[in-house]
């Protein structure tokens, strides 16, 4: 019952519901040390009103993907290939002037660290009002009223006075609320949230996550939610994309991926994470080694140097042949479906109890 269909077909028309569809995206940065393949052949779809979770470790390309969607990469050092279709419009070829009209209007972003993302020179109210004035042509007075309305919505106490405060007068949780207000001020169809709660405390994180969920119900935006925390994803997302070394390794509905994961990397992530309900008597099962360098990624399956199940695949396919990610609910792994099921039931599932 996955909603992420039609991914590999290069020229296939996007589904009726798929609002954003990314096709075979490749992003490369040229650096002094060589070419960094930050994103390498990534495809995914986001439906209207749904949340797509992207999970991965640092350097897996999850943030780069979304900066590229917004066109926030440095065009001098970056090459982007593939298609990013937003309601049929290809954002890769869209000129900067057009992008400006989309950003903050149709597509908005919430950043990880609200203190660096908000300008210290302007009041919070002005920063919220600015995109509204730019995109709707509203007057200063209207924009200010809108800012107060948004601040009320995201739960800032005394919004009429706090609208004139500067970001440093807000606490961490309030700043993140202000960021959300700023992102939602133009009623965007797509909201990209890049680790929006990583810098916050757990009790505040829980408030913000619930707030985002409730606001999504009200505004009906699609959300791309990027995080490294599987717990947060489990709470927020409808669909899940697991990224490793610039590629998607597993995808599907969030419940399916977390309850019956099919990729060794997802198994590793789940069994290396202590959980509140988990057993404390056995040690955690970490993934051996460390994430690969994107300058020189491993051949074949990028996960093979850290994978403990390569011996079950005939020959050296893991190190020579890149496993494809099928359509819909899929995992990019050479293990057969039966092998995956046996390994998961025998070795992985008992550890998750």
């Amino acid at each position: 019952m996955t909603t992420l269909t039609k991914t590999e077909g290069e020229k296939a028309p996007t589904g009726p519901d798929s609002f954003l569809s990314v096709r075979d995206l490749r992003v490369r940065f040229s650096t002094e040390d060589g070419i960094v393949k930050a994103v390498d052949g990534l495809s995914f779809d986001v439906e209207r009103g749904k949340t797509l979770g992207i999970v991965g470790e640092s350097g897996s390309g999850k943030s780069v993907t979304n900066l590229t969607v917004l066109g926030l990469h440095n065009p001098k050092t970056t090459t982007v290939e593939g298609e990013i279709l937003l309601e049929g419009q290809d954002l890769v070829t869209t000129p900067e002037k057009e992008m400006e009209k989309l950003r903050g209007n149709k597509v908005a972003m919430i950043f990880q660290d609200p203190l660096t993302a908000l300008s210290p020179y302007y009041t919070v109210g002005r920063q919220i009002a600015e995109p509204f004035m730019k995109h709707t042509g509203a007057s200063k007075k209207e924009a200010r009223d809108r800012a107060i309305e948004m601040l009320t919505k995201v739960g800032i106490p005394q919004p009429r006075t706090r609208v004139d405060d500067y970001p440093h007068q807000f606490s961490g949780g309030m700043r993140q609320r202000a960021m959300i207000a700023m992102a939602l001020v133009c009623d965007p169809d797509l909201l990209i949230a890049d680790e929006p709660t990583t810098a916050l405390d757990v009790t505040v994180q829980a408030q913000i996550l619930d707030l985002l969920k409730d606001l999504q119900q009200e505004f009906g935006s699609a959300i791309i939610f990027i995080t490294h925390d599987l717990g947060v994803i489990s709470d927020m997302a409808d669909d899940l994309l697991v990224m490793y070394s610039g590629r998607a390794v597993e995808r599907g509905a969030v419940r399916e991926v977390l309850r019956e994961p099919r990729h060794p990397y997802t198994w590793g992530l789940l069994s290396s994470m202590p959980r509140l309900g988990g057993s404390t008597s056995q040690p955690l099962m970490p993934i051996p080694g460390s994430p690969p360098s994107l300058l020189n990624p491993p051949s074949g399956c990028p996960f093979h140097p850290r994978c403990t199940f390569t011996d079950q695949v005939s020959g050296d396919r893991c190190s020579t042949e890149r496993p494809p990610l099928g359509e819909g609910r899929a995992a990019a792994c050479h293990l057969t479906a039966e092998q995956k099921q046996t390994i998961f039931i025998d070795k992985i599932q008992p550890r998750l109890r």
Partner: protein
Amino acid sequence: MSDNLTLPAQQGSTGASTEALLKVEGLTKHFPIYGGFPIKRKVGAVQAVDNVDLTVGVGESVGLVGESGCGKSTTGRLITRLLEPTGGKIEYAGQDITHANRKKLAPVRSEIQMIFQDPYSSLNPRQTVGTIIKSPMEVNGINPAGGREKRVRELLELVGLNPEHYNRFPHEFSGGQRQRIGVARALALNPKLIVADEPVSALDVSIQAQVVNLLQKVQEEMGIAFLFIAHDLAVVRHFSQRVAVMYLGKVVEVGDRDSIYNRPRHPYTHALLSAVPEVAVDDETENRERIRLAGDVPSPISPPSGCRFRTRCWKAQDKCATEEPPLLQIGGNTEGHLTACHFPEEPSVEARSEDVVMDPALKALENDGDVSKD
């Protein structure tokens, strides 16, 4: 009620038992704030740690959890005497070290070591790994059998690094490997107590588990006591036999792992546990209570009177504002499980009939149209 037997028995020490290695009583640290012109005067104080009692037994691992600004790191620094306490008493192995001078502290310092949060800033980039791990031995004039270099190579092997990396520099290692170097340095003097201040929070998920396992191995095999400071409740639960929960400079609840995580009494512990996002690997995880506090932690410059949690608590009454609740073993708690609350919660983390939602924005959104309630 004495199901104290459920505690991991191998370490023998449960709660405030006889074999206390470290005993902290009424520990207080106030950082002064100066203001005024032209002569700066003390105008207030950040009450970072206020009247904290804590015991760490021999070979025991105690977790210290709380949100940022609750004083957990300051407590760690006070115990290692990197900061001078404003008040209270720190007793290490029966010896009062609260205001001990350099000379008196020297032998104690080698027994209390620290592991820091950020493996990038806690290692000197100009020194080789060998020098970094060797220097505690040089400072303390320790000459192990076979020489210091041999000992360093042993330590590197113990923490899962290649002994041949002796002459490498920190920048040649990844974050997880650097944290291992930090662990090796802490082990160099055969300490009895390690204060680990957020040792894994700067690491990636897959690497975190490697370091947690390493620390656990060290703790169990070498019998080192740990004060494990972290904000991640799941990691603390995995690592610690006893857990203390801090809020705004005070310990609000302390007890063995099972009591804190399955039978918490303090509303703040309930709120903290319910806020942890859990991966739903089965249906069981979905039957947890949902509590959403309003706003952030108040400023420790002027903390609320009485119970410090009362401004965000759903059970607060007049008594909470006037009278500070003492940290006691309240009725229904097992031995060693202390709670500082006038109106404690039921000892369960199961879902309640009605969620506690304090946040005004959430309340407004959820009531209107009844979204996301059922």
